[in-house]
């Protein structure tokens, strides 16, 4: 009787000790796994956000061994992005630097000597004008400036928001001839031959800068980095575990309970750029007018809520997302079919989504 009580009590105690040992072993096991992971170069994910480049929100995601390593890489990326931001700025002057604003200020006055990165950007803008039959025009500053003023005023004074007169826009559109942008590569100068014209590189500059910075990072030996500059996303390498970066395209319908319209898996060097009417816009009499102005109508394009481009060059993706936003679906589909390695997704205001032939190959799930 007594013995059996003692025996069973000892058995219970032994069981508890066994559980404790197993549990503490489990703890050790976790600890061992962590150290094994760091030994086998398992990389940690870090992110940082900047608000001071390209008038938008920039997120850098990197997979590195340490926070310090990531901070160093992010600092280099930010420095590079800031450089391009200043060069391509049309609103601000910077000490000791001729930028796009300097070129605009000297329209009809004199050629301006500029950094080769400006020459390259403008040449790229001219190429995109030719490629898209003028649907992307960096010489449309005179028209975009009017819309910019009305939009800024309308955002800050919603009850007084109004639309510019068509006559005013048409008068400005007389000064948007891209052939009047004179680039002299030898002298490294740019001259606007029409004193009333101006450059606005908003449709290509972010994408172009992201592509340049990405290539710079690659040359520096960096890897496993994802850039997100406003709507422009580009990946260098893969995630830390070697799998593709997974990115999400925001649902243009901000009221929707589904925050993402699509999730994509992007391979090394692939880029996604979205253009839409849901971030920069203002309202007049309850109607939304976005920041993307169709060169043909001189009014904001209204066909789509958003267009996304998937390709291997961020600059091209940026330009083409604007171009497709300004085309009909049929025009856009014909255009995409004529391009190698470029895929697109169109989103209508009612949520209807149309894909180009191979876009869905990159969709997750």
């Amino acid at each position: 009787m007594e013995k059996s009580v003692i025996l069973s009590a000892i058995a219970v105690a032994a069981l508890i000790v066994f559980i404790v040992v197993v549990q503490s072993n489990k703890g050790n096991h976790i600890a061992a796994e962590i150290s094994a992971d760091s030994n086998s170069n398992e990389l940690t994910k870090y992110t940082v956000n900047y608000l001071d480049v390209f008038d938008t929100s920039t997120d850098i995601t990197g997979f590195t061994n340490t926070q310090d390593e990531f901070n160093d890489e992010a600092a280099v990326i930010k420095e590079q992005l800031t450089y391009y931001n200043n060069l391509y700025d049309i609103y601000n002057d910077y000490d000791g630097m001729n930028n796009i604003k300097t070129i605009n200020d000297n329209a009809g006055v004199a050629p301006v000597e500029v950094d080769s990165e400006i020459i390259e950007l403008i040449k790229f803008g001219q190429d995109m004008y030719d490629l898209t039959d003028g649907k992307v025009n960096i010489a449309m500053g005179s028209v975009l400036r009017i819309w910019h003023e009305y939009r800024e005023y309308g955002i800050n004074n919603p009850e007084k928001a109004s639309l510019p007169d068509l006559a005013e826009l048409q008068a400005a559109a007389e000064h948007t001839d891209i052939n009047n942008v004179i680039v002299d590569e030898k002298a490294s100068t740019v001259y606007l031959a029409d004193k009333d014209m101006s450059l606005d590189v908003g449709s290509i500059a972010k994408g172009y800068a992201v592509q340049q910075v990405l290539e710079y990072c690659k040359a520096q030996g960096m890897n496993n980095i994802l850039f997100s500059v406003g709507g422009n996303i580009a990946g260098l390498g893969t995630r830390g575990d070697g799998t593709n970066f997974k990115i999400a395209i925001q649902n243009p319908d901000l009221e929707s309970s589904e925050p993402y319209i699509e999730k994509l898996s992007i391979t090394d060097g692939q880029c996604v750029v979205s253009s839409g009417d849901y971030q920069r816009f203002y309202q007049v009499d309850g109607k939304r007018y976005c920041h993307i102005i169709n060169p043909d109508t001189l009014y904001p394009s209204e066909t789509f809520a958003g267009v996304s481009i998937l390709t291997d060059d961020s600059a091209k993706a940026d330009a083409l997302s604007t171009a497709l936003f300004n085309m009909t679906l049929e025009e856009g589909q014909d255009f995409i079919n004529s391009q190698d390695g470029v895929e697109a997704m169109w989103v209508y205001h009612d949520g209807t989504v149309v894909y180009s032939e191979h876009f869905e190959d990159s969709v997750i799930e």
């Binding site: 608000l51 929100s57 919603p158 997100s228 996303i233 999400a248």
Partner: protein, 125 residues
């Protein structure tokens, strides 16, 4: 003797139980470092708000503008703001590590730290 045996057994049981409880608590504390929403204004930290505490905090600026941060059921959102574009208010609620909500006009950023990992590395804005 008999009584002492019983005491001994009880002691062993209590000690074992205690050890089991402590190791349990320690491992639990290690694995669940609470997720927080970190608010920064123009790059400098304004405050940290744990996601496991329901809160509503209105951040006011000198010029009268404001953003209202709401944490409910472990999810963080900007429920109201004075900014003209309302992009931060329309932004989806966040809960995963590294996700953020940005209010450009007020230079305010809310970022999740120590949260669970999302399956997404980045999103278009």
């Amino acid at each position: 003797m008999k009584k002492n045996d019983v005491y001994l057994i009880i002691c062993i049981l209590v000690v074992c139980g205690g050890i089991a409880l402590i190791t349990n608590l320690v491992t639990r504390a290690k694995t669940t470092d609470a997720a927080v929403a970190v608010v920064t204004i123009d790059g400098s930290e304004y405050g940290r708000f744990p996601l496991d505490v329901d809160t509503e905090e209105t951040i006011r600026f000198e010029d009268g503008s404001y953003n209202t941060l709401t944490i409910h059921d472990g999810i963080c959102d900007i429920s109201e703001a004075s900014c003209p574009d309302q992009i931060c208010v329309n932004h989806m609620p966040i809960q995963y590590n590294g996700q953020n909500i940005v209010c450009l006009p007020n230079k305010l950023v809310v970022t999740i730290e120590n949260g669970e990992e999302d399956d997404i590395d980045g999103m278009t804005h």
